[in-house]
């Protein structure tokens, strides 16, 4: 008999633990999420399409998805630099910097939203310098970019950091002994190892940014067609008691999230395999 088969019999609590997990998961997550799809199923395909392809809704996709993509790209670049600096160098205050990287996870989004708005508004600490230069951040799409960059920062840092920490020095030493300069050994030896983690972090930051609401609405200005994000449009429809409209748009976002979740899972399996993990 294999050890696996023995352990299944030896340890107690399997029916209870799995049963409880499945019931709780169904009640809190699966059945309520199913409600969105069932509600949408009351629409004909043409009605559904009319709602989700309305110009104001399409403009909101462009804003939500487009700006989230740019924010995730900014985070990928700076997150990599950040992780590199935290792993490879020592400097005063490093522990505090390392701990504060997670601030966007811990700080409530509404607090982040009003703080960023105060900072970038015309009379704010940064806004008073930027506005005379012709750069308006608060109440423009640029403000959305700032908020989404803030929200996504920890994802890239925290996925790349452990991979960098586990990297053996031998690889780079071998590259150097074979005559590679520092940039070559980074680009050809270190960077390829980091790619799966970097892509995972990018996708996580992107997924989070697309759904983000709290930090954006304060700074966005929320002008239809210009700076109105998709989650806000769902709220607007709900406030007009247009449940069907809100739900149809929610389905578009959910399908997108599921596809992204699937991709992220695939990336993580790839990363683990590359990294020689489980």
């Amino acid at each position: 008999m294999s050890p696996r088969a023995i352990s299944r019999r030896v340890l107690p609590g399997f029916p209870l633990a799995l049963g409880y997990t499945l019931v709780y998961l169904s009640l809190i997550v699966l059945i309520p999420l199913g409600a969105v799809f069932l509600k949408t199923a009351t629409l004909t395909w043409a009605e559904f399409w009319a709602i989700i392809s309305e110009p104001r809704v399409v403009a909101s996709y462009r804003i939500s998805f487009g700006i989230s993509l740019i924010a995730a790209a900014i985070n990928a670049v700076f997150g990599l630099i950040f992780a590199w600096v935290l792993v490879r160098y020592t400097f005063p205050g490093k522990r505090i910097v390392d701990a504060l990287v997670d601030l966007p996870f811990a700080l409530p989004t509404a607090v982040a939203g009003i703080a960023l708005t105060a900072l970038y508004a015309g009379n704010g600490w940064l806004g008073q310098w930027l506005e005379p230069m012709g750069v308006k951040v608060a109440f423009t799409p640029l403000g959305i970019l700032v908020a989404l960059t803030f929200i996504g920062l920890p994802f890239v840092v925290r996925t790349v950091q452990p991979i960098l920490e586990d990297l053996d020095t031998e690889l780079e030493e071998a590259a150097a002994s074979l005559g590679a300069d520092r940039w070559q050994s980074f680009w050809w030896v270190v960077f390829p190892v980091l790619v799966p983690a970097l892509l995972t972090g990018f996708a996580l930051a992107f997924a989070r940014a697309v759904g983000e609401y709290g930090s954006v609405i304060f700074i966005a200005g929320n002008l239809p067609m210009v700076s109105e994000i998709t989650p806000l449009l769902i709220i607007t429809k709900l406030e007009q008691y247009d449940y069907v409209g809100a739900t149809a748009i929610a389905v578009v976002m959910l399908v997108f999230s599921f596809v992204l979740l699937f991709l992220i899972n695939g990336l993580q399996i790839w990363a683990n395999r590359r990294h020689g993990g489980i």
Binding site: A17, T21, I28, K39, V97, A118, Y213, F218, T247, L261
Partner: protein, 296 residues
Amino acid sequence: MAVTVATRWTAHSRRFEASAATREPAWVKGILIVVALAFFSLFLLLPLVTVFAEALRRGWEVYLAALVEPDALSAITLTLLVAVIAVPLNLVFGVAAAWAITKFDFPGKQLLTTLIDLPFSVSPVIAGLIFVLVFGAQGWFGPWLIENNIKIIFAVPGLVLATVFVTFPFVARELIPLMQAQGREEEEAAVVLGAPGWKTFWYVTLPNIKWGLIYGVILCNARAMGEFGAVSVVSGHIRGLTNTMPLHVEILYNEYQFAAAFAVASLLALLALVTLVIKSFVEWRGRQAMNAGQEL
């Protein structure tokens, strides 16, 4: 969030700085540190400082008055109440799910793990919407609830449900990789030697997962107290009744009571800072426990 206690440690820099092959020229190092710190100050430090600066802009009296005002107090109480219900629910679930997934083999395990992570990829606004569709006046149970005079949406149960949904994966996703790494042998030995199931869990498993558990709980709690989007949909924004702290911040801000809004926000920012301090401490203890385990 995707990173568990077991996989993180610092003091790696010394290893890389020791050899010329893994060291950059001083000017490259300098530029990278300056870029990282500039990004850090711009995106993390400045917003944090702004919260406290704006809160205290009109002096301590205005600050304190904003916190002891009845609506603020009821928002604080409600936030605590919601967290006190939601966090233990997800704690029990997280332990049960991790036990089932890591201690046993069954088909569909990978799918179950993915489904547990699902709430993280759902927009908070949709998290609120789904409960409106189920329990709202026009929802599945709407008519029945109205007949029996039970309020869920625009009332406290709705806030709890939305919060439970958005904080659903926190404890489970910290415990699963940790318990996976620890294997099953210790528990199997205890059971074979005659220990009953719950004793095995209490004396064998729990001490091993203690730090991961605390880590998951504090992250879960921070999100539960700070959630905005999901509760905003189900709250109805009734002052003194269904306003949590983040919603109270929004109302004050939209009424141009900036000092008061930032005063309440500063409490939430303090909560975030305390969370990060505990998190760093737990990570440090987790590393110590792991190092001690390796020496044995």
